[in-house]
C-alpha cells in the first residue's frame, strides 16, 4: 500500500465524519485556549483548516498543501501577536490527531493510515511552532527598534545649550544613534554646549565610558563643549575603581549644575528678581 492511496482513503474516511471530528477538535482547542477565543470563532477557523487538510491529503491539487501551510502560518502569527503561549498555538494542530484517533480507535484496518496522517500532523505542528517563534522574534526586533527611537531625545535647554538625557544601557548601536542626533542638533541649532545626562544609565563600565568619550570628542570636532551630568554615587565609585579617566571633560552631579556651568562658560548669569 503506497502512501498516496492510504492518504486518500484516510481523507475519504475523515470527510465522511467531518462534523464529528471538527466538533471534537474545536472542543479540545477551545478548552486549551481557556475562553480567550469564542467557541464559534474556533469552530470557524478549524472548519476552514479541516477542509484544507482534507484537500492536501487527497492529493487532488498541488496547491492544497501550500495553502494549508500558509493558513497555519497565518494562524500561528496571529496567535503569537495576541500573546498566546507556544503550547496553545501548537495545540491547535496536535488536537486534530486526538480527535481523529478517537474516531479510528475502533477501526483496526485504519492503523497504517492513521500513522501516515499522524506524521503529516507532526510536520504541520512543527511548522506552527517555527512560525510562532519567528513571529515572536519579529515582535522583539520591532520593539527594540522602537525603544532605540524613543530613548534618544535631544532637548534644547537654553539658547546655545542642548541636553541628551540617556536612558538605558549605552551600547554601540545606541551610541551611534545618540552621536548622530546630537551632532545634527548641534549643527541645526548652532549650540556650543551639550549636556550628556547619564542619570538613566544603570551602570557605567569601561565600554560605556568609551562610548561617552567618543561622543564628546565628536562634538568637540564640531566646536561644541560637552558636560557629563547625572553621575550617581555608585556610578562615581565604579568609574574611579575601574580607573576610567574623563580627562578634561567637565562632570557634574546634576543636570542643573551642568546647565549652570554651561551658562557660566557662555558668560551668562541667572539673577534673582526683586530688591537685592
Amino acid at each position: 500500500m503506497d502512501v498516496d492511496s492510504s492518504q486518500g482513503r484516510m481523507a475519504a474516511y475523515m470527510r465522511d465524519h467531518q462534523d464529528k471530528v471538527v466538533g471534537r477538535w474545536s472542543e479540545i482547542v477551545a478548552a486549551g485556549l481557556r475562553g480567550r477565543s469564542s467557541a464559534a470563532e474556533v469552530r470557524r477557523e478549524l472548519d476552514d483548516l479541516y477542509v484544507l487538510v482534507l484537500r492536501a491529503m487527497s492529493g487532488a491539487d498541488d496547491q492544497a498543501l501550500g495553502e494549508l501551510r500558509a493558513a497555519l502560518a497565518e494562524l500561528s502569527r496571529s496567535r503569537a501577536r495576541n500573546g498566546f503561549t507556544p503550547t496553545e498555538t501548537a495545540l491547535g494542530v496536535f488536537a486534530l490527531k486526538d480527535a481523529v484517533y478517537e474516531l479510528v480507535a475502533d477501526a483496526a484496518d485504519l492503523v497504517h493510515e492513521y500513522l501516515v496522517f499522524s506524521r503529516m500532523m507532526d510536520d504541520l505542528g512543527l511548522l506552527t511552532f517555527e512560525t510562532y517563534a519567528t513571529a515572536r522574534e519579529q515582535i522583539i526586533a520591532d520593539q527594540a527598534e522602537a525603544m532605540l527611537e524613543l530613548s534618544t531625545p535631544v532637548i534644547r535647554l537654553w539658547d546655545g545649550v542642548i541636553a541628551v538625557p540617556l536612558v538605558g544601557t549605552l551600547d554601540s548601536a545606541r551610541t551611534q544613534l545618540v552621536m548622530e542626533k546630537l551632532l545634527e542638533t548641534l549643527v541645526a541649532t548652532g549650540a556650543d554646549h551639550a549636556v550628556l545626562d547619564i542619570t538613566g544609565v544603570p551602570t557605567v563600565d569601561t565600554e560605556v565610558a568609551q562610548h561617552l568619550l567618543k561622543t564628546v570628542s565628536a562634538a568637540r570636532l564640531l566646536g561644541a563643549e560637552c558636560i557629563v551630568s547625572g553621575i550617581r554615587p555608585q556610578v562615581a565609585q565604579t568609574i574611579v575603581s575601574l580607573g576610567i579617566e574623563f580627562g578634561d571633560i567637565a562632570t557634574k552631579a546634576t543636570l542643573a549644575d551642568a546647565l549652570a556651568h554651561a551658562l557660566d562658560r557662555r558668560g551668562q548669569h541667572l539673577a534673582k528678581e526683586g530688591p537685592a
Binding site: E180, L186, V187, D192, K214, S217, L222
Partner: protein, 117 residues
C-alpha cells in the same frame, strides 16, 4: 592639481576648502599657509571645511599638522563647519585633532579668535 586660496582678513587668514581635497593639494596648502603666516604675521587661521564630505586619516593628520605649524608662528587655528558624518568618521579613526580648535561655523570661529586677542 587644484590650489586652495588663502585670503587675509585683518589679522586672520581665511581658508575655505571648496574642493575634494587631494593629498598633494593639502601638502601644498600647508606650504602656502606657512609662507603666508611668515609674510603677514597673522594671529589666527580659520579653515572652513563645510564643503568637505570626506576627510580621511591623512587629511585629518595634515590638518592637525597645520595647527601645530601655525602655533610656531603664534597663530591659533580654528577648524570650522565640520559635518556630523565627518566628525563621526574622525572619531572612529581615533583622530581627535589635538592642537586645533574647532567651531560650528566661520562666525563662531572668528569670535573665538577675537575673544583671544
Amino acid at each position: 592639481m587644484e590650489r586652495v586660496p588663502i585670503s587675509k582678513i585683518g589679522t586672520t587668514l581665511f581658508v575655505s576648502i571648496q574642493i575634494d581635497l587631494q593629498d598633494e593639494s593639502v601638502v601644498r596648502l600647508q606650504e602656502d599657509l606657512a609662507d603666508e603666516l611668515a609674510a603677514t604675521g597673522a594671529r589666527g587661521v580659520i579653515i572652513d571645511i563645510t564643503a568637505m564630505e570626506i576627510v580621511d586619516s591623512f587629511i585629518g593628520r595634515m590638518l592637525a599638522m597645520i595647527g601645530s605649524i601655525s602655533r610656531l608662528f603664534d597663530a591659533e587655528t580654528v577648524l570650522v563647519g565640520m559635518r556630523p558624518a565627518v566628525a563621526i568618521t574622525l572619531t572612529e579613526l581615533g583622530l581627535s585633532l589635538r592642537g586645533v580648535r574647532t567651531a560650528l561655523n566661520a562666525e563662531k570661529g572668528l569670535e573665538l579668535l577675537n575673544g583671544r586677542a
